[in-house]
Every structure is written in structure tokens, then in C-alpha cells.
């Protein structure tokens, strides 16, 4: 599954803008956590036998609130049993120290230049810029949640770490810059309300509410309709995600002793929604320094310029690594064909970019050997995790969805038929002994289904699993944009030309992170 070619080619490019890859990662961090960690429920080192499905349901808990409430940006609610003042201290540290209605941001430093003529406040806020009480509170909380090795690494790099609600959003530079756009959008909303006669109070609450509503509207209209089959998205919206709520009701009936009423499908979290891994490029046209007309930004460097990556010793993000979003957000960008990285995501298919075979931040605390190799190889991790969590096969999911009228396409009974031009893949699937061609791991099935239809979107099963879950989550929140039929034209926030903020490009421009 790892593409062995040295660089992306016309065959591997989609027509999807590359922002969708990292927008998807941001959304994942809003909804789920813990499906990718070693635990008693899912352990790579003890793969056989996996736990029964009832144990998985009873024991595997999601560590995020499954709502698009931007708790990754604002932090959660710092109250509850056993919650100390340290939690409130860290969350308060995310706010601007003097302009209390705004969020704290960081400042990019030399060497430059910036990729545009905008301001230099283009880094995530980092622990080096806050008072020591916030750092000490963070250390106490982190120590309580991490293994000794993980905490030692965290403590050693604390000044460089991002002061944000979810450290995963500083995993790579693109998702970090995407996160920054939310902080800047919020702050710009405060300024906009203060300078326009809208009837709204220009305070934190108004800005947070409007940031959430615009973001939630864009999830459906910009993200879902970009990566799913639009007809599937519309069908699920029109049906008010009835199948999703049926799933939750059935889960609650099966698990009456532990139900919390907010379950997410494992088929989404541990399989279908990992499709974004196939869209990752090996190199990006990041900005005018690390991109056209110079060499592109290699994928590994995008991990280096993060809090956990060391930034080559720089205490903050260098200005010349600030992203140029104009190279990332345009739908159906024209191909430039100059031999450099194109401004598109890779196709959604069964081929992953080479760096995903050796992930530099993963498995480094393990001894060299097969287990470390497994942690560093994204495809193997996804497949093993799905097996450990006893996910149903792709064919079984299709059968279930078709029986319930959720999908109409024919099943891929023999997935090897898709790979006529890949004899090694075909041979493996057919002759592995496990009949993977007919009993296909769900993650692989979703990628194969997308590949079958050209790789420009998910197939019907993948589209359904992703759209049903995301729309269901939005509709389960009575105050979400979808529940309230919010549209950008209703918002007091407008672009300079008085048009509504109704695209991700306009979101970036409003946030003043794109010219």
C-alpha cells in the first residue's frame, strides 16, 4: 500500500484542494481520541486473540466530546469531579492576557520572509510565552495523563509546545496553521463586531458562537461535499440522519449500564474516517520559500516545524514557514505541470505517500524491531487496529447498509477485481488464506471503493459512513448550524465586499491568514 515512487505523479494527483486533508484531521481531533493508542483493548503486541466486541464496547471510551464544539480550540468546561484549578489555569492561558475577549496567538520570528504582506502573528501560542504558573499547571496535568516516557519528552520540550486544547493539532505544520486560523477568526470576529453596527456585543461569547456556526456550516457545505458523494450527503441531511440515531439507540439498548447517549460508530472512527491518510502528499507547495519557484516542502519537514518536532532550535515558527493558504484552498486547481508539487491532494485510493511508511514521530520509545516498524507504518497500524477492534469487513458493512436502504450501489464482492493492473496486490488479496478479497478490512474496502470510481471522492459506503456520522453529530446538537438552519448570509460577519463568508477561502481571508 505504500507507493514506492519517489514523487507524486499525474496518476497519484486528485483534483481536490490539499486543505481537505488537514481539515479532515482537524475534524477528527474534534470528535475522537484514544482509538490510536496502545491500551488493554487494542494492543499491537498482543494481537491474538482480539477482545470480543462486547468488551470493546464496554471498555473503549472516547476521550473527546463527540460534538463540533471547538473544544480543541477553546478547551472544555473546567468543572467536574476531581478537576483541579490547574485545568482552569491552562484554559485561561489560552486567552489573550490583556484583551480578554480574544484568544492568544503566537508570533512568527526571523528568518523571513513571510509569504504575504499580512502581520507576523502567525504561530500557535506556545508555553514559552505564558506565565510560569500556566507551565507548571500544564506539567502537573500532563504528568497525570502520560506514561513516564511520554511525559519526559513532553516536559523537555514544553516551552516549544503549543498552548491549545488538543496537542494533536500541533502534530504537523499544516494542521497547526489550520488551527491558528480559528484563533484568528475568533479575534477578527471581535474586531468586526466592535467596528460595525450589527446589534451584537463585541465580546468573547459572541465571537465564539459565530466562529462555531460558520465552522459547522462549512463542515457540511465545504468539507463533506468536497470529499463525499454530494448526493449521499444530501440524502442524509434530508433524512435527518435517521440511521445514525438508530445506531445510537441500539448501542444504548445493548449497553444500558454504561451508555452515555453519545456513541460514535467504530466503523467510522477506526476505518472509514482514516481515508484521509491516502490524501497526504510527500511534498507540498507550501509557500514562496518552500514551494514554487523553489523546492517544495517535504512532508517530514512539516513535522519538524511543530512543538514536538524541535523546529531546528528555533523558539517559535520562522516567518518563512508560515503557510500560504492560497496554494491550498482552491477547488479544482489548474495543474501547473512544472515538475514541482501540484496544489492538490493525492487521490483517495489504496496507495499511500512514501513518508507514511516510516512515520518519524511514532514508535520512537520502542526497541528497534518488528513492533517499532509496525508503529511507524501507517497502513499496518490502521489494518491491525481495525482487526484488534473486531471491525466488520467492508462487504459486511455494505450488506448491512443496503439491507437498510442506506446505500444503493452494488457491493464489491471480490475487491481484487479492482486491481487488474496490480498483480502483486491481486495475488496477496486472493491467496492470503484469509480471503481478504471477499472479506476485506473496512478501511481498505473504503479506499478500494474510492479508487474504483477514480479517487476524486469516497465511494458510496465510505461517503455514507463519514457523512452519516458527521451530520448525525451536528444534528444531535440542537444549537449546531445544521440544527438551527444557519447560513452565512444570516451572520453579522461579512467580507470586505459585504459578501457572506461561505467558503474555506473566505474563512482564511476573514481570519487574515490569506491575502
Amino acid at each position: 500500500m505504500i507507493d514506492q515512487a519517489a514523487s507524486e505523479t499525474t496518476d497519484t494527483d486528485s483534483t481536490l484542494p490539499p486543505v481537505l486533508t488537514y481539515w479532515g484531521q482537524f475534524l477528527d481531533h474534534e470528535l475522537t481520541a484514544r482509538t490510536d493508542r496502545e491500551s488493554l483493548i487494542t494492543s499491537f503486541s498482543n494481537a491474538h486473540p482480539p477482545q470480543s466486541s462486547s468488551v470493546v464496547e464496554a471498555q473503549l471510551r472516547n476521550a473527546r466530546t463527540p460534538r463540533f464544539d471547538l473544544d480543541s480550540v477553546y478547551g472544555g468546561i473546567p468543572t467536574g469531579d476531581g478537576v483541579s484549578a490547574d485545568v482552569a489555569t491552562v484554559i485561561s492561558g489560552m486567552r489573550h492576557p490583556t484583551q480578554i475577549n480574544k484568544m492568544r496567538v503566537g508570533t512568527a520570528i526571523e528568518p523571513g520572509p513571510l509569504p504575504d504582506s499580512l502581520d507576523e502573528h502567525r504561530d500557535l501560542p506556545r508555553y514559552s510565552q505564558v506565565q510560569d504558573s500556566v507551565r507548571q499547571a500544564a506539567l502537573r496535568l500532563a504528568q497525570a495523563s502520560m506514561s513516564g516516557e511520554d511525559f519526559a519528552a513532553f516536559e523537555a520540550t514544553l516551552p516549544l509546545r503549543a498552548l491549545i486544547g488538543d496537542q494533536r493539532n500541533d502534530e504537523n505544520l499544516i494542521v497547526a496553521q489550520f488551527h491558528l486560523s480559528f484563533l484568528r477568526f475568533h479575534n477578527k470576529a471581535v474586531d468586526f463586531l466592535a467596528s460595525h453596527d450589527t446589534g451584537w456585543i463585541a465580546d468573547f461569547h459572541s465571537a465564539q458562537l459565530l466562529t462555531r456556526l460558520h465552522y459547522q456550516w462549512l463542515i457540511v457545505e465545504g468539507y463533506l461535499k468536497g470529499i463525499c458523494q454530494p448526493a449521499v450527503v444530501s440524502r442524509i441531511v434530508d433524512s435527518r440522519a435517521t440511521h445514525f440515531f438508530k445506531f445510537r439507540a441500539e448501542y444504548d439498548a445493548r449497553q444500558p449500564a454504561i451508555r452515555l447517549g453519545n456513541a460514535l460508530p467504530l466503523e467510522f472512527s477506526a476505518a472509514a474516517y482514516r481515508f484521509g491518510h491516502s490524501m497526504v502528499r510527500a511534498a507540498y507547495d507550501h509557500n514562496n520559500t518552500f514551494g514554487r519557484p523553489n523546492n517544495p516542502a517535504a512532508f517530514d519537514l512539516l513535522f519538524t516545524f511543530t512543538g514536538g518536532g524541535g523546529m531546528f532550535g528555533s523558539p517559535k515558527l520562522p516567518k518563512n514557514w508560515v503557510i500560504d493558504w492560497s496554494r491550498f484552498v482552491v477547488a479544482n486547481p489548474p495543474k501547473i505541470n512544472d515538475g514541482q508539487a501540484e496544489r492538490v491532494a493525492r487521490k483517495i485510493d489504496t496507495e499511500l505517500a512514501p513518508p507514511l511508511g516510516v512515520m518519524q514521530k511514532e514508535g520512537n520509545n520502542l526497541p528497534a524491531g518488528q513492533l517499532q516498524d509496525l508503529f511507524k507504518h501507517l497502513a499496518r497500524r490502521n489494518l491491525r487496529r481495525g482487526y484488534n477492534l473486531r471491525l466488520p469487513t467492508g462487504q459486511a458493512v455494505h450488506r448491512y447498509l443496503r439491507q437498510h436502504g442506506a446505500v444503493t450501489s452494488p457491493p464489491i464482492e471480490d475487491v481484487s477485481t479492482i486491481f487488474a493492473g496490480k498483480p502483486n496486490m491481486q495475488d496477496f488479496l486472493t491467496n492470503s488464506g484469509a480471503k481478504f478479497h471477499q472479506r476485506t478490512p473496512l478501511w481498505f474496502y473504503c479506499l478500494a471503493e474510492a479508487e474504483q470510481s477514480g479517487g476524486q471522492s469516497l465511494g458510496e459506503v465510505g461517503s455514507w459512513l463519514v457523512a452519516s456520522t458527521i451530520i448525525g453529530v451536528l444534528l444531535s446538537d440542537p444549537d449546531s448550524a445544521l440544527s438551527r438552519d444557519f447560513t452565512p448570509s444570516q451572520s453579522p460577519l461579512r467580507m470586505n465586499d459585504d459578501s457572506p463568508i461561505d467558503s474555506i477561502a473566505k474563512w482564511m481571508k476573514f481570519a487574515v491568514v490569506m491575502e
Binding site: M1, I2, A33, R37, E38, S39, L40, A47, Q51, S52, S53, V55, V56, E57, A58, Q59, L60, N62, A63, T65, D71, G75, G76, I77, P78, T79, G80, G82, V83, V87, I91, A138, L141, S147, G165, Q167, R168, E171, Y251, Q255, I258, L260, N262, L264, P265, E267, F268, Q370, L374, F375, R380, Y387, R390, A396, Y400, N424, G433, A434, K435, P441
Partner: protein, 73 residues
């Protein structure tokens, strides 16, 4: 979840007495202390029943498939 400190991967901090994993069905695992899931926990469940039905999951086979995730297909 209020603040998430741990990045991808890694090992879940063990909860309860060392060496005594509690896999009983009577209660869910509590939230990890420092992950401070103070507003609520959340569930994961299966969309497709019946759970563990042989026709919906993978075949139990011998070694080659046991190591299938290590293949470079």
C-alpha cells in the same frame, strides 16, 4: 475532554492496580486522570450487528494471515 496533552500513538497510562487489568463488563474504564475528561466521556459502538457473527468478521486462519499486516502488498 478539556485539554488533550498526548499526541498520536503512545501508550495509554495504566489505570488501577499494576498488573491487574480489569476487563470486566460491569463498568467502563474511567477517564485517564490527566486527560481530564470532565465534561463527559463518550462511547464507541458497532454500527453493524450482530456483533462477532462469523460472517461479518475475518476468518481465523494460520500464520500467513496472522502476519498479513506486515506484508508489503
Amino acid at each position: 475532554m478539556t485539554v488533550m496533552f498526548q499526541s498520536h500513538g503512545g501508550t495509554e497510562k495504566s489505570e488501577g492496580a499494576p498488573g491487574a487489568p480489569d476487563l470486566s463488563l460491569s463498568r467502563a474504564a474511567p477517564p485517564a486522570d490527566g486527560d481530564i475528561a470532565v465534561d463527559e466521556q463518550a462511547d464507541f459502538g458497532y454500527l453493524v450487528p450482530p456483533l462477532d457473527a462469523p460472517k461479518t468478521t475475518f476468518l481465523r486462519v494460520a500464520r500467513r494471515s496472522a502476519n498479513w499486516m506486515n506484508s508489503e502488498a
